[in-house]
Every structure is written in C-alpha cells, then in structure tokens.
C-alpha cells in the first residue's frame, strides 16, 4: 500500500455507510472470584453516541477494557460487524478501526503532540528499523503524508498550534484533547472514550461535548463513552446503557433511562457511590 492509497483508504473510512455495529454479547468477567461483569449485552449502533454509565465500581472501565482487548472476558464476546474482537491481541483492533482514549492520559509526556498523535498512524503505516533508519524515499513520503493528516486531526480538535509542544508542558484539558486526537489518528470507525471529561473544568467540558458531537456529525463514526458527568452524557448521548455491580440494569434513550426506577435507585440508593476509586 503506498502512502497515497493509505490516505485515500483513511478518508473512505469516515464514510458513514462503512461503520459497523459494535455488539457486546453476554460478556462476563471475573477476577479471582470477584464478578466484575455479569452477562452484559448492548449494541452501539452505527453513527451514534452511546454512553456507558453507572456508579463507581459498576464495571464500566472493565467493560471498556474487554472491548478493546486489554482484558479477556470469561464469558461472551464482542463483535464489530461480522468480526469477533474477543480473543484478538489488542494491537490488531486498531487496524479494524477501533480507537480509544484513556481515563488517565496515557501519552508520552516528553514527546511532542505531533509525535504522540502520529503513534495512532502506526497500523496505517509500514516500515521497520532499516527503512526508517535509512529514511528511504517512500518512508519520508509516508511520514509527510501522515504527519499532514495528524495535523489535520489536531486542527479539527483545535490544538494545531501545539503540534511541537511536549505534552508535559500542556494544560490538562489540552492534553485530554491530544489523547482524543491520537485515538482519532487511528481513523476509527468506533471511538471509545474513557471518561473524556474527567478532571476538566466547566468550559473544557463544554468544548469536549461539542467535540464529541462534531465527531459523530462530521465523521459519521460511532462513539462509545464512559462518563461520570451526567450533564455531558444526557446532552450528547443518543443512547445510554447503565451498569450496576457488573450487571446491565437499563439500556435506552437518555430521557427514558433517566426516569428508570432502578437507575434512580442505583444512583441515589448507593449513597457511597461518589467515593473516589
């Protein structure tokens, strides 16, 4: 694949028709006798923003880690379209179009923003030690093309003026956006955002919300997010799944889920749910 076709392929991916369903089917997860997830099933419809919520310790992050292959479920499976993701080694998911951001920013602090975002291009590019070391013409061209795309993505997120800044020198809110930019650099068809608003102030949260909406509307991709900020979730989600003690207790439109008595009980009944993890 030449660099140009890689680019063309990348653009084609953002076509709405190409986005498959992400299906979580009866997933169970146990750690040393503790049941973290129990028969969890839901479907992320193409081109929607789907929120996964629940009190602390409900299993949201575990569910996330199962989806993106970091944890292996003890039961059930996850499918993207017709492809079974479960059992695959995590790095293969990027190639299938699954991108992910992290709750606690997992960037290389001393590398520049561009360098971090370029990591997302890993599975879209080729080249090993020798070709990279010799800076062969096709490697240099590929690097240019993909750096341009990375810059575009940063521009889309409004962080293009920080491309050459080391991540360590960025404010937290901007670093969060860099994490999202890196996930987008994978050219995902499904984007997983793990607590995108955690640690952000009100203004930064509003920016994040409009960004997420923009991702869905402009790129047509599906977004699955784990979030604590109910205002954010109810404002942008097309569909909400609620976990409590590892079980799915509600799944539906935000307005409906919000009134669900069991959801209300899970949030209000568990008074200690606001404890820090």
């Amino acid at each position: 694949m030449t660099a140009d076709t890689a680019r063309a392929g990348a653009d084609a991916r953002t076509d709405r028709a190409d986005v498959p369903e992400l299906r979580v089917e009866g997933v169970g997860l146990r750690f040393a006798g503790i049941t973290a997830l129990d028969d969890v099933s839901f479907t992320v419809r193409p081109g929607t923003v789907h929120a996964l919520i629940g009190p602390n310790g409900a299993g949201k992050s575990s569910c996330f880690n199962v989806i993106c292959g970091v944890y292996h479920p003890t039961a059930g499976r996850v499918r993207l379209g017709d492809t079974v993701l479960t059992g695959m080694r995590p790095h293969r998911l990027a190639r299938l179009g699954v991108g992910r951001s992290f709750q606690n920013i997992a960037l290389s602090q001393h590398s520049t923003v561009l360098d971090n975002v370029m990591l997302g291009r890993h599975s879209l590019t080729r080249g090993g030690f020798l070709s990279g070391g010799l800076r062969l013409p096709w490697v240099a061209r590929q690097e240019r093309v993909h750096a341009r795309r990375a810059a575009e993505i940063c521009e889309f997120l409004g962080i293009a003026d920080r491309l050459d800044t080391p991540v360590a020198a960025l404010p937290y809110g901007v670093a969060k956006l860099v994490d999202v930019a890196r996930a987008l650099a994978v050219e995902p068809r499904v984007l997983l955002l793990d607590e995108p608003a955690a640690g952000l102030n009100a203004v930064e949260t509003a920016v994040m919300a409009s960004t997420i909406r923009a991702l869905r509307d402009a790129l047509g991709i599906s977004v699955l997010l784990v979030e604590h900020d109910m205002g954010l979730v109810m404002g942008i989600a097309d569909r909400v799944s609620v976990l409590d003690f590892g079980r799915l207790i509600a799944d539906g439109e935000p307005a409906v889920v919000q009134r669900d008595p069991e959801v209300v009980r899970a949030y209000l009944g568990a008074g200690d749910s606001e404890e820090q993890q």
Partner: protein
C-alpha cells in the same frame, strides 16, 4: 464549533503546513560536517597511539548507541550487552577465519569474505537478541535486567566450553583482518596518503569511523521514524501502545534484536582492534559484567535515549583509561600510582560521572546540551518566547 461540518470541510481544504525552515538546522548540519572533517583529518596529525585510543572510543560508541536504544527508547533494561559483543566477535572470527589445528584441537572457520562475515556476525547477534524475546516480553524493570544478566554468565561459560569456536580462554584465536574489495585494513601492503604512511591504525581508524557514522545515522533515523515512536510508546504506556496498534511483544523483541546487532558490530570491532578473539578467564574481562556496566554508564552519562549522548558517554567511559594510559608515562604517573592503574582510575571517573548525572541532571549530558542550545536559541531569537516554553526535557527524550 457550532457548525461542525463547516469546520471539518474547512480543515480538509487547508493546505498542509509547509515545512518550517529552521535556522538552527543549517548550523547543526554544518557542525556535524566540520566534526566529520576533523575526524577524517586526524590520522595526518596524531600518532598511532591516540588513533588506537580513538578507535576504542568508537567501539564504545557503537555499543552504547545500541544500548541507549533498547534502554532509553524502548524502556527495556538490558545488562546482556557484553554477551552480544562476544557473540558478534566469535561469529566474525568463525565466519571469516580458516579451520586450523591448534595442538590437539580443531578451530572451526568457514573462510567467508570478511565483509560477508561482518554482516553475518551482525545478523547472528541480532538473532541472539531476538531469541531472548520470549523472556524479554514477559519481564519488566529490574527482573528483566537480572534475567539479561544470565546471558553474560552463559557467554562466560560457553566462551570457555567451546574452544573450537572461540579458541579457548587460554590463547583465543586470531581473527581474519577485515578487508574490502582486496584492500586489507591491516599492515599488509604499502600505502601512503599525502606522505603519511597508512598502516593498520590509520586504516582501521577510517573503517571504524565509517561504522560509527553508519550506526549513528541509522539509529537517529529509526528513532525519528515509526519504529522509534512505537518503542517510546511501549516504554511510556504498554497498554496504550497496544491499543494504538503497536504489537508490544514484537516491538520489544525488535528493540532487543537491534541493540544486540549494535553490540555484535561493536564485538567485531573489538576483535579487529585487539587482533584477537579471546574469551574471558574470569568474570571480569572483555566480555564480562564490567563491560555491560561500562556500556550502561555510557548510556546514562549521555542521557538515556540520546544517541549523541551515547557517543559522548563512550568518549568519557572508554576514552579516559586510554588517554590516561597514553599519558601516564609522560606525566610520571607510572610508578607513583602503584595499584591505581588507568583502568582503575577511569572506573572512579565514570562512577563519579554516573552519580553526578543521577543526582544533578537525570537527563544526562543530552539534557545539558539541550539546555545550552535552548539558551542560545532564546538569546538569538528576536520574537517573544512562546506562551508555553518547553521544559528542559527529562531522560529518554526522542529528539536526538
């Protein structure tokens, strides 16, 4: 961002940012060229003693670049460097040498052309590094370091146990001198350039200089490429690297293989420099733990992950004993120091250097260099400093 689709189409339409011309780039390239020119001219100015010392430093530089890649860039602690030196040296001696009989024992040699033997030795070293991957992939931190230490002890044992390959610890074996298209890098034949006779020290100088430059440029290119990014991602956050599409096990194995290949080349250079391949008789020798630690010191002093830093580290760690030896007699240190041989003194020198780096500048000389460069850049720049001034980079920075 109210009208989002507008924004995105606008973004798509923008022309890519043109590569910004950097005034510093020309200066830097010019500096490297001048340095290269000076190094190329050295054989016309200095004697064979100092040339030989310089060659030893280049042996260190090649090995240290390899080590700083695996430790500083990929974040995998390796103490096995000395073992890969032995693998490289032995492979070269076996591939290039002739089968001969020493006493009752045979010494095996395949008699390949030296260039082929050199490439073969580097490849074999890389494969040895790759073979360590199943262990390296499962371990982290100090556990990995000590596990890699096992290889040094294995090498020490095998060096003695396989005299048919290594020539045995007592006498060793003489490697075939390197030659390229019929030109021997030894005392063979007469060659004079500008009235200066070119014998083994001068010829080896250029050979080693070429090796070092190639090793340096390859590493620098790779670090700035996709491979380097994957290594740093594995170093900083394994799970994130995997999610971004990096095959973590493969990246680790690759880093070990590359580092072993560098060590292998360094090992070939050692045998060419000594004109001898000789496995150690005690745990502390050419291929012993002390060598692994010396390379580690070079990488740390230079700043983990920094390639120019590794070269300067080699200059300090391998240069000091050589220069001290050369000047010991001139300075009259020969008798007064008794037990304090140049080797022992240099141990103290780099021991102190490592401690100083750890205490005062964990980024090593590379960070100090960047700080100086940053200061001078700020002074010459007329426009106001950017809102976010990059902090002086800590260890393992990717700029090289």
């Amino acid at each position: 961002m109210s009208d989002v689709s507008d924004v995105s189409t606008a973004v798509r339409a923008t022309t890519p940012p043109a590569p910004r011309p950097r005034a510093g780039t020309l200066v830097r390239v010019g500096g490297w060229l001048v340095l290269l020119l000076v190094l190329s001219g050295l054989p016309f100015v200095v004697g064979p003693g100092l040339l030989s010392a310089g060659q030893y430093v280049m042996i260190g530089a090649v090995g240290a670049i390899g080590l700083t890649l695996v430790i500083g860039q990929a974040g995998q602690l390796s103490l096995a460097h000395a073992f890969f030196l032995l693998v490289g040296g032995t492979s070269y001696a076996v591939l290039a040498g002739e089968t001969e009989q020493a006493g009752s024992e045979y010494i095996v040699g395949l008699g390949l052309p030296p260039l082929l033997a050199l490439v073969g030795a580097v490849v074999i070293s890389a494969l040895a590094g790759f073979a360590f991957a199943p262990v390296a992939g499962r371990l982290t931190g100090i556990y990995l370091g000590v596990a890699s230490l096992a290889l040094v002890f294995l090498g020490f044992y095998l060096g003695q146990a396989l005299p048919m390959l290594t020539g045995g610890a007592a006498s060793g074996r003489n490697p075939e001198p390197f030659s390229l298209f019929g030109f021997a890098f030894s005392n063979e034949g007469y060659l004079a350039v500008l009235g200066v006779p070119f014998r083994a020290p001068e010829r080896l100088w250029y050979l080693f200089l070429a090796f070092t430059v190639i090793a340096f440029l390859l590493a620098r290119g790779a670090v700035r490429s996709r491979v380097g990014r994957a290594w740093r991602a594995v170093r900083d956050h394994e799970a994130a690297a995997a999610v971004m599409g990096v095959d973590v096990l493969r990246a680790k194995a690759g880093a070990f293989a590359v580092s072993a290949a560098y060590a292998g080349l360094s090992g070939v250079m050692v045998t060419l420099w000594l004109g001898l391949l000789k496995p150690d008789e005690s745990e502390f020798g050419t291929y012993g733990l002390n060598t692994s630690i010396a390379f580690l010191a070079m990488a740390i002093i230079g700043g983990l992950g920094s390639i120019p830093g590794a070269v300067v580290g080699a200059l300090i760690v391998y240069g000091t004993p050589q220069v001290l030896t050369l000047f010991a007699d001139e300075l009259g240190l020969g008798d007064t120091l008794a037990g304090f041989s140049p080797t022992v003194i240099s141990l103290y020198v780099y021991g102190i250097a490592v401690i100083a780096v750890v205490l005062f500048e964990p980024g090593g000389l590379a960070a100090i260099g960047r700080r100086i460069a940053g200061l001078s850049a700020r002074r010459t720049r007329s426009d106001p400093a950017p809102a976010t001034t990059p902090r002086p980079a800590p260890p393992g920075e990717d700029r090289s």
